[in-house]
């Protein structure tokens, strides 16, 4: 029996969908069978980040309305044999076309066939959020180091206390700009974790390559050398129960050769 994890944040634009795609991919790379469920009805984009947007035949609303079987709607990511699947969101529907009981039933149907079911929650705390947490056993709260994102994360943790899941929520701090955090321009990891008073699951550094690769439909986690990819891979290992130390925040000092090269590049 698999575990259903909702990826949520409250605030939009903090990287829920990117996190879902990358954690799902990282878990698949570790040999786990994963199903990603896009619950952002009307504004689907998990499929785009995974490069599966041209392969969608049916969506989650088709399944709930009995227009298609669950198996017909699941899109297989061919890069990972039989390990990574996506249940896409509907575009020509809205959040009210799903209710929490339907999502719960759907997730229960998926859990026996997968190790992990990752639920990509829409922004906000209304119907879409309630749908997303209904079927979940655990929650990952994604926040960036910005006050507005942290404030919304706090609100979401409060709501999760009201509707408790089997496991306590854990925090992912996403899009960390190392230099700004080192210079004290944003709250640091300890401050954010202490403020929210929930366990830290991992940190992910901000990196241009995240946007570049997602534009190509390739999750960044496929590039093992990228720092953001390492962050996601570490989180996936911690979800699996491994103990992995946090990545070092300090930016690497440029070596002698790159400094010399920098002199020649100056205008």
């Amino acid at each position: 029996m698999g575990k259903a994890i909702v990826v949520t944040s409250g605030k939009g634009g903090v990287g829920k969908t990117t996190t879902t795609a990358n954690l799902g991919t990282a878990l698949a790379l570790m040999g786990k069978k994963v199903c990603l469920v896009d619950l952002d009805i009307g504004l689907r984009n998990l499929d785009v980040i995974l490069g599966l947007d041209n392969r969608i035949l049916y969506d989650i609303v088709d399944v709930v309305k009995n227009r298609a079987q669950l198996r017909q709607a699941l899109v297989k990511d061919k890069r990972f044999d039989d390990l990574l699947y996506l249940l896409p969101a509907a575009q020509n529907a809205d959040k009210d076309d799903l209710n929490p009981d339907q999502v719960k039933a759907l997730v229960e149907e998926l859990k026996p066939d997968f190790d992990y079911v990752l639920l990509d929650c829409p922004a906000g705390i209304e119907r879409g959020f309630m749908n997303a947490i209904a079927g979940a056993d655990a929650a990952i709260i994604v926040s960036t180091p910005e006050i507005s994102a942290i404030r919304d994360a706090d609100r979401v943790v409060g709501l999760l206390e009201q509707y408790p899941l089997a496991e306590a929520p854990r925090l992912v701090i996403n899009r960390i700009r190392q230099r700004m955090m080192q210079d004290g321009e944003t709250m640091d990891i300890d401050e954010i974790t202490h403020h929210l008073s929930i366990d830290l699951l991992g940190i992910v550094f901000d990196d241009d390559a995240v946007i570049r690769t997602s534009n190509n439909g390739e999750p960044i986690v496929l590039d093992p050398k990228n720092p953001a990819a390492q962050g996601y891979r570490n989180i996936a290992r911690r979800i699996e129960g491994e103990t992995v130390p946090l990545m070092n925040l300090e930016t690497q000092k440029p070596g002698v050769w790159s400094r010399i090269a920098g002199i020649f590049h100056r205008k």
């Binding site: 404030r151 919304d152 706090d154 609100r155 943790v157 409060g158 709501l159 206390e161 403020h195 008073s197």
Partner: protein, 222 residues
């Protein structure tokens, strides 16, 4: 046989006692007989106001109404007060709630409103956007970055005792305001409604002067 209703006279006036062992119907019959007799004996026009005690019995609303209706039939009689030696368990529990200082140690997060009946000694954390509401006083030993509302909704005698440097909003009874840093007088402030009905801040050592009733003890001393 013992009467089910006993009339007692004292310096304060007349007292009617409904015997606990008697049935209510019996009481109503005896009460009528007694009042009839009393009306005949009462030769003056003087109004008589009764203190009524039901001993270890609680009258239902209907029963109270029946007693009131009977008394009102006699123009020279009225009810001063109707008392009982017992209260409902639910009323007793509510009373305990109101009178207790509740120890609260939790995180109140953005958007959460925690409402408590009675006084609160708060050890937890209130995050930005969280609200702690108490029907009584609030005493803070934890960290507060949200709103404190004492005497909610309309108990204007309540106080907030708290550091205010990080508190954005306070409310006591019906008055609320954004905390003005210029008004903060001490590390720990007493926020209360003063004689001219505005929110005022005093240093902690003025608490006893501002609200002496807080320190009137009904028990607990050895």
């Amino acid at each position: 046989m013992q009467q089910s209703v006993v009339l007692k006279a004292s310096n304060d006036g007349y007292e009617l006692i409904f015997r606990q062992a008697a049935g209510f119907d019996e009481i109503m019959v005896d009460l009528k007989t007694l009042l009839d007799r009393l009306q005949v004996d009462n030769t003056t026009d003087k109004q008589i106001s009764f203190d009524m005690s039901t001993e270890g019995r609680l009258l239902t609303a209907d029963q109270t109404q029946a007693v009131t209706k009977l008394i009102n039939r006699y123009p020279s009689f009225s009810i001063h007060k109707l008392t009982s030696d017992v209260v409902l368990t639910s009323d007793a529990l509510a009373m305990i709630d109101r009178e207790t200082v509740h120890l609260v140690n939790q995180i109140i997060r953005n958007g959460q409103v925690v409402t408590i009946t009675g006084d609160v000694l708060f050890f937890g954390k209130i995050h930005e956007g969280g609200v702690l509401q108490a029907s009584g006083n609030i005493f803070v030993m934890g960290e507060v970055a949200g709103a404190l509302e004492a005497g909610y909704p309309d108990h204007n005698e309540a106080v907030i005792v708290s550091p205010l440097a990080t508190v954005p909003k306070v409310r006591v009874g019906e008055l609320l305001e954004l905390v003005d840093p210029a008004k903060i007088v001490d590390d720990t402030n007493v926020v209360y409604i003063n004689d001219i009905q505005t929110l005022d801040y005093q240093p902690l050592n003025q608490l006893k002067r501002v609200r002496p009733k807080l320190f009137i003890q009904n028990g607990g001393h050895i």
